[in-house]
Subunit: 281 residues, 2 copies
């Protein structure tokens, strides 16, 4: 496995692969890899000749009061994981090279970036769309994969890829969960023992909603209210949002249909976690 | 010469060129070609194996009260010009394919887009950065060339290309002028006979400023004021802005140095024209 830190070296590598007719698959990450990331690596591995994983904790997607500094990092562990998974290139760029001063250019995906997570994280998706655009221009992948835990992010990336004519196939991989249903996330590390137990309520309440929908409940307010109550029954929880949306437009639905998405962001203590499920599954 | 109207066909063409190791040069235009465009075509022609010219009147760079509808178009004439210049591909996409509904993604280059032309045309450079990003992803050029008449545009494109890691070399070509000094522009067509004569004052006043700087005047206010007065002496003129700026940052200079840029936008009757010169030349 090659570890590349320089942007021009990554571009040259990908140019050569493309000239040789090899298909480049790409998994962009912020590192501190867990089984969720590894599942994405395994999914795209089958579909490409050369597999590139990037590790970059992207400062432009963190708000000024967010956890950029304390976001967990462990490059050596990540490197070992990637080697085990048969990754061909680990791209691990330097922050000053990714955002040299003066840095002025940003990609925005209007409307989709102002709802759901965009309400409490107003510049988050601008940072995401910008770094993914940059990485697409550096790694030059034929296909890239994103996890469904960040459901809104995946929708935004698909829209941006189509709008800006990036010739990149966008794949998604399902959420990987702990045995009690908690979605894997690097931020789960922030939870103390009690919070970790409490965090299981997120998926439990989403499962309840799936069950209710199967039993004929199709009023979104009714579904959302029940999820809200079951979460607030657990001490130390604070709800950021619970939304029941069309899976493509992310617009709230008036009546729930198969495949609509129930998504939420909830604080467990001070840790903000997100999760989502498709209804009718 | 190949005329391509479909985005995937253009992308496939460029993919094949790149696989064959051919260098793609690109001249993006809004059509109604004049000697200014042709000079850019000739400049980049020497440096590439395959020359692509695009013709697309980009709606997102026009304001709601601007001249999108009446902007001059003559595809057959443009096609003949391109054929004569040895252009390999004329890319002439369909508006609904470039901006399918819903279209949500935009590229912004902060700060640089709010000054000079950005004051009276607040969304103009967002539209420019967006369409150029799209065209870079469709045409996949190794090099692209922009005219210096749109000086601010060229600075913004250079910044965007660097920031977003497009692996495209940005070239610029000098302004081509009529015999009385008027910079060539598709919008000169809007001028009536008297306005056309009056329009010569733009370059005449800029030449005067170059002369004054050579004679030791380095106070930007003094230079700008003299340009303003000489333009306002001509009936039917209205000044949008006159700026004396650093050629890289576009920030106003406090004292003029060699190579600083004097740029202006002036209404001649109802037609808004722009022009600029480097001082010390």
């Amino acid at each position: 496995m090659k570890v590349i830190r320089q942007i021009p070296e990554m571009q040259n590598f990908s140019n050569v692969c493309r000239q040789e007719g090899q298909k480049i698959g790409f998994v962009p990450t912020m590192g501190f890899l867990h089984e969720g990331h590894l599942s994405l690596i395994r999914l795209i591995r089958k579909q490409c000749d050369v597999l590139v994983v990037s590790i970059f904790v992207n400062p432009t997607q963190f708000g000024p009061t967010e956890d950029l500094e304390k976001y967990p990092r462990d490059f050596e562990r990540d490197e070992a994981f990637c080697r085990d998974e048969g990754v061909d290139v680990l791209f691990h760029p330097i922050e000053q090279q990714m955002y040299p001063s003066p840095y002025l250019s940003y990609v925005m995906v209007e409307n989709l970036d102002k709802i759901m997570c965009g309400v409490s994280r107003p510049d988050h998706f601008r940072g995401v769309a910008t770094i993914v655009s940059k990485l697409f221009n550096i790694v030059k992948p034929h296909a890239a994969i994103f996890g469904e835990k960040d459901f809104q992010q995946a929708v935004i990336i698909k829209q941006m890829t189509k709008d800006l004519n990036f010739e990149v196939e966008i794949l998604t991989g399902p959420i990987v969960r702990e045995s009690d249903g908690l979605a894997l996330s690097s931020r789960n590390k922030y939870l103390n023992e009690q919070e970790r137990l409490n965090a299981a309520i997120l998926f439990k309440s989403l499962r309840g909603a799936q069950h209710d929908f199967k039993n004929g409940v199709n009023n979104p307010q009714e579904i959302i209210e029940k999820v809200r109550q079951s979460i607030l029954d657990i001490p130390g929880t604070k709800i950021d949002y619970i939304s029941l949306v069309n899976p493509e437009t992310l617009q709230p639905v008036r009546r729930v249909h198969e495949n609509d998405r129930l998504a939420l962001a909830v604080y467990i203590g001070k840790t903000r976690l997100i999760d989502n499920v498709a209804l009718g599954k």
